[in-house]
Symmetry: C3
Subunit: 291 residues, 3 copies
């Protein structure tokens, strides 16, 4: 791959890309998309009216959850990133505009599909950079701690998703029957695979430079997320491979789209229901009522 | 304000007051009032009979929750404060006397209103000192981390209230529909405002000395809490100002006592219910039964 | 006791025993028994099929929960122990064999009672060593922090049990009405008493060498657990003494086997139910259905 890129004269591009600063443009896109997802959560608008402090805290978790989790994992202060006042102020401004802007103007602008697609793409650039930084940071602290590198890269990429149960609790919502690890969404899964790739690269088991890996993985993530946003899809491009690998390794029931659409009929009495299943159930019930 | 105090020769008083040691008298009052509130919690007496270890742990959280939370926030050991054996032993003695004293004698003494009013006043002295120390500590660690200062001062002032969901869980109680940030009580709110004031002072944006601020804020807090204890009130002196500010800034429904008595009728299906709402519901149901 | 041991020429034995390495044989037994208990948990097999990542994380919590908790308590990185790749790989291999071995062969071997009794005995050797190491580690960090020593030794001995509520949450199960501190199992209780003993030893208030204490306490724990495993019993050898002490000190209702079989009839409306009570209820309901 390195050779192919060299031929295409992409090595320099990758290096330049990997050195590009994220603040403020990319970070701004990250904050906007993250807080947009917070606003999509049922009940979050009521919370923003009733308790602005709780709403602001949730917004901060959405924007900086990855830093908080990674700092906890490495034994630093979970507030460490909050020393960057300009980042916090920028995220707070975004939070204010998305939740309290007159006529909901800002929200309507950024939720407009073409704008949102651009922002979602920019957000993935930040995510991949975070995974790489997380793995590198963990490598610095534990030179041979490969599991630690993967875990820190993973939480850096997944961010608030991994603590969604507790973020919801802050808003008075408690859904113990599922969590992001039991039923991983696409970005969480991709973060895990990305963290493994960057760890392999850091351990020199992957014959590719870090900047190239950043470029390639960013292109992959941005493309996937932009396409998924455009198609309002939650399917994962990994589904087919995963299904076969899980079937072979873990004896999981073989089913191409198991994770996203049809939970295996064999576990109807299971206490574990993914968000999809639950919302599917709700949809069916509504449909029944409508009839 | 500094001038006024100088004229009244209060500057020296403020300085002497801010240097006054808290151990053992003020700390003792703090422990007594805190564990008294623990005993008021429904079910806590049963827990003290069934599992003294759980009861003792809850008591320690009530007494030292602010230190535990602040240590976590700053990345130190959450047990750091437990190295002060004399404080732990004093708090443990108070816990034993309040829960297991023959004839409930100790409890009856300290819950006697005039005694309790004095103790509550002394407790607020400790609380304000903790907020100031928390902000100062955070300022030491993060010289320009204003958000960190506010958060650490806030958790130092609020203590166990901010982790009440998990403190209850230790006693086998789980109330996810509310938490101290969604529906802040007066001490929690005052701690937040106090933390902001002390942070402004630490950043030299407030033209007042720290000792004066400690004195004035202590007088305010002690007066409020003593009056509220005497009147068995949970209303907040901030309610009116807050209501207007929240209405202007966050579009919250305008309602003088919204936070304490009448939740806005517009969100009846909201999953979020404050303690007040819940207990109101319980009261109504009881009233109905009685009819 | 030191004298008696000297006469029996056991001092050298105790010293040699306390220097014996735990990796890999004893650690292997620890991992096998721990993950075996995970497989006994209702729903854990479904989780292993649906989400191998969640299942692996639970297995790691079962194997390394004591290290994670102790690191959190002392303000280190909770992932610190994960730098020992060989330990993690060994535990992961055990997890894979127990959950995914064809024909369930490995599980059947290690769950075979005579094999399990040996493994359970070996596990207790590791547990006692962990308590001693935890107390020693805390003593190193806080020279006079006796409470910290007890707490760290306790969490090192109890491990995942103390965070069982959150470990269950990872598998989509939420049982807030009980926890390991409200209704302690035998190993948790023994860990607490062991931590107190080792703290007394570390503070030179117990006239016995550490290696002797390790030997004696290991013999006690291993015997108890092997006998309990053989008899499928959950009763505690401490029950009688505890009942009297708790009655005298904390006014708990006097009842020889209260903790394990008959919860006091006086608290039927209590929101607190031990696992035993709950499973008893479930058993009764099943029995009723069967009739």
């Amino acid at each position: 791959m390195e050779n192919v890129l060299a031929v295409l004269n992409l090595g320099d591009l990758a290096h330049a890309f990997s050195k590009m600063g994220m603040f403020p443009v990319f970070d701004l896109a990250y904050y906007i998309v993250s807080i947009l997802y917070l606003k999509y959560e049922p009940g979050s608008v009521e919370v923003s009216r009733r308790s602005p402090v709780a709403s602001w805290l949730c917004a901060m978790l959405y924007c900086f959850g990855s830093y908080i989790l990674a700092d906890i994992m490495l034994g630093s202060s979970p507030l460490d990133y909050f020393q960057h006042n300009s980042h916090i102020l920028l995220a707070s401004a975004v939070w204010y505009l998305i939740f309290y802007c007159p006529l909901n103007l800002f929200y309507k602008c950024v939720a407009f599909l073409p704008v949102k697609m651009v922002l979602v793409g920019l957000k993935e650039v930040v995510r991949v950079r975070k995974i790489a930084a997380g793995v590198h940071h963990a490598h610095h602290a534990y030179h041979h701690g490969f599991f630690i590198m993967v875990i820190v890269g993973y939480v850096k990429g997944s961010g608030v998703a991994l603590m969604s149960n507790f973020e919801q609790l802050l808003r008075g919502v408690w859904r113990p029957e599922t969590n992001e690890i039991l039923s991983m969404s696409f970005p969480t899964k991709a973060s895990l695979y990305g963290a493994i790739l960057f760890t392999l690269q850091e351990a020199h088991w992957l014959p590719v430079s870090k900047s190239t890996l950043i470029l390639v993985f960013t292109l992959f993530m941005a493309t996937c997320k932009v396409v998924m946003t455009a198609r309002h899809s939650h399917g994962s491009p990994f589904a087919l491979i995963e299904s076969w690998v899980c079937h072979l390794l873990f004896g999981s029931p073989l089913c191409g789209d198991e994770d996203n659409h049809h939970p295996p009929a064999a576990v109807p009495s299971s206490p574990l229901k993914t968000k999809e299943e639950l919302s599917e159930g709700a949809r069916k019930r509504k449909a029944k009522k409508a009839e």
